[in-house]
Symmetry: C2
Subunit: 118 residues, 2 copies
């Protein structure tokens, strides 16, 4: 197997280690999806929105008021969270209430907080 990796100019490669580890890597598609998921948690505004929704459902306007941001900015972020199925919504007249759609949101954020606590 001539995997000399054209991009790696190094001459010393630990072939046995490389071969042992190569099979452990999930598919590019899976890893890309995983990175995309974590990207959602990688923005302060989105983290704040999710944190607020831990407590109870909130409308766009309430979230904007709580975070002291424009309704537009919040709406854009909710759109992202909605597309990623982290958040769901229900309409009540003119008002749209958003809430958490996924149980993993809490545990992922909890794990992150645990790391910070060290």
């Amino acid at each position: 197997m001539s995997k000399t990796a054209t991009n790696c100019e190094c001459l010393l490669i630990h072939k046995d280690a490389v071969n042992e580890v190569r099979s452990a890597l999930p598919s590019d598609e899976t890893l890309s999806d995983l990175a995309d998921l974590f990207k959602l948690f990688g923005d302060t505004t989105r983290i704040k929105i999710l944190y607020l929704l831990f407590e109870k459902e909130l409308c766009v306007c309430d979230i904007a008021a709580l975070l002291n941001m424009t309704q537009s900015a919040i709406s854009h972020q909710l759109k992202t969270l909605k597309h990623s199925k982290l958040v769901k919504f229900r309409r009540e007249g003119k008002v749209v209430f958003y809430s958490l759609a996924d149980t993993h949101v809490r545990s992922i954020i909890a794990q992150g907080m645990e790391h910070l606590a060290e």
Copy 2:
């Protein structure tokens, strides 16, 4: 308390909901640190590196070969992961071996994978 949130033009705000939720939000600094942590997991290259290190310690060159990327790109990313204390290293002559420095890395990624599996 005149928290009418200058940036929110909406007139309807659910004051009781807002007041109830406001205290649930951690400090801006904590939330910023949390977002920064998740940002690290929000890149395919870094996710791949961490995944590889799940198996065993690897040198820069091995990682570059496995991911078919330049040594420079990998080294830059390892620098980021090192600064964030997710990865540690040990030197052996000219070669630097990297390994996971944090037990939470596994569980955070595992949680993400669980979410995808649904």
